[in-house]
Assembly symmetry: C2
Homo-oligomer: 375 residues x 2
Amino acid sequence: MTFDLVLVGFGNVARRFVALLKERRAVLEREHALQARVIAVATRRHGHAFWPGGLDAVSLARRIERGKSIGSDAVSGSSRTGSLSSLEMLRRVVARSGAAARRRRLVVVETTTLDIARGEPATRHIRAALAGGAHVITANKGPVAFAYRSLARAADRAGRRFLFEGTVMDGIPVFNLVRETLPTVNVIGFRGVVNSTTNYILTAMEQGQGFDEALARMQAVGIAEADASLDVDGWDAAAKTAALANVLLGASLTPRTVERRGISAETGRQAIAARAAGRRLKLVARAVREGRRITARVAPEELPADDLLAGLEGQQNALILQTDLLEEFAIVQRSGSLTETAYALLSDLVTIARDVRTAGASRRSRPRAPGRRSL
Amino acid sequence: MTFDLVLVGFGNVARRFVALLKERRAVLEREHALQARVIAVATRRHGHAFWPGGLDAVSLARRIERGKSIGSDAVSGSSRTGSLSSLEMLRRVVARSGAAARRRRLVVVETTTLDIARGEPATRHIRAALAGGAHVITANKGPVAFAYRSLARAADRAGRRFLFEGTVMDGIPVFNLVRETLPTVNVIGFRGVVNSTTNYILTAMEQGQGFDEALARMQAVGIAEADASLDVDGWDAAAKTAALANVLLGASLTPRTVERRGISAETGRQAIAARAAGRRLKLVARAVREGRRITARVAPEELPADDLLAGLEGQQNALILQTDLLEEFAIVQRSGSLTETAYALLSDLVTIARDVRTAGASRRSRPRAPGRRSL
């Protein structure tokens, strides 16, 4: 079963994703009957193009890494698409892929960068993709943080999947874990450390490094966002908190309705003092449902040394889920890498392939699962 | 879609399971189109009976908790089965449930107690069930620890599922996590604390309690096995280690081929000394694949204080998975209860229901996944 992929955004994550698809090609085909080819790429800075017959995306990634643009010279069979916006490009590609869309074999992979003000244009990309009969996979937190409920409804109406495992803790299963392995369990709250940059800065400052020095190091290795405020002011953590609360608790939050405090050089001094007193300061994300009300917050918290979150060093993340049937349990990410985020996209693609493979039976008898269907 | 359940073993876990089925009845039906009825119960001490039309298992559980036996007085519609062995009883029930078996709606729920010497009679129960066309769910570590590979093959041949989420960390997803949410990821090793009783004893001894006192407390609350050796000599942990290695690493271990050292009053003194030196002593289970060789071990290990496993208090468990694509990540169980083990059976039943619902499509196109199919 061959899926046609439309990549919107072709940065580090998407480029690692196409490489990973190639590396795992044999096992994807053998164990999941899954083949995939990239038929279009849309980028903001490197141009875009449409190859209805598919192209070698790994070579294209190398071209871009050598500083070339996608449409800058002839690519066999390509239709140059000039200066269209990504949204317009996406619409045209989806419209011209009607056969694949009708067979549920069209997947838009959205990896544009986070817009913390509104989650755009990613949310528009996703709406256009679903409206055109494509499934959507994204590693962009914006759409889930700003518009989960309406995107989930749009996916349901279209009979397509909208998946986003890569938005929290990279490829470590969080959303897929709850959807696939915790049937009938209700998540009633969570707390966690979900931003690697700030955790790295706090632990580095405990060891005497300066705030700016630690931040610069995270930016140099590509972990921190280019806009430092997204990390240190807690915006990234707030977006993840909104995404988790929207999906797992049924909330309708946005990053702006999450109570938010970030970290600064002053927080570093507090972290040193806390450590001296046998405690740790961490940037903690938390949300809880009380009756119909859901409250969510990101803020530095001083934790006892034996708290699971207190033990997170460097870039480690963890999420503690509070549930009805299984009480509390935690998922801990002990490392992080581009491969892990790219893997999230791959695992979502496999979920779609499984779904399509069993769609005949599913469509006839799949029951309604309100509030969970599109998770 | 109604499943007929045959309960082999009707102890605490199975009784909590039938109560949970009733409590979650509405959501199981609404979200998973799943209904279930108990048609037979086989026990060692309380007799057994077969009700082809189903019975109220919650009432039956209450009867047994009041000290009555299953067949001790007339149950409407029952066929008394006298002094048959559980295995013979199971064979007859399965043989008389051919219609449900052919429609893949027959499920044997195996919850007899662990036999650490051979994993029997549980393994024979499971073979008989699969041979008769039933799916099998178990919370008994024995069969997975002693005979995973051959049982997985038997399930494949029969086209039925063999699931066992409850064998490690109760209902916290471990096996389901890897199978459902980590496609193409290879697990290359693990280490963890997987026995609650010994972890409770070690932490209690650190705080000055005696070994016997701490063990007695765990037996009183029903966490420790009646045979203390299963916990303190590391047998339970070795069985879980064999199960994890067999399923996740493709090993062919048994509890006896896992290198094993347990804990004693002397270990408690070492734990106190370790704690005084800023370290913790834990009973660590570990396995690793090196080339074709898989080595596995259960032993007390002195860990640095910042090790994730060092932070586990009381009955907490954790498992750190080492993988190729996602490096290391951990699952931490922060509480434990009968409900959590019973939930594991429920989640396995939902997996079967999903599978049966999509079986038409699956059977036509489900690809081969060597070594993973029956996980």
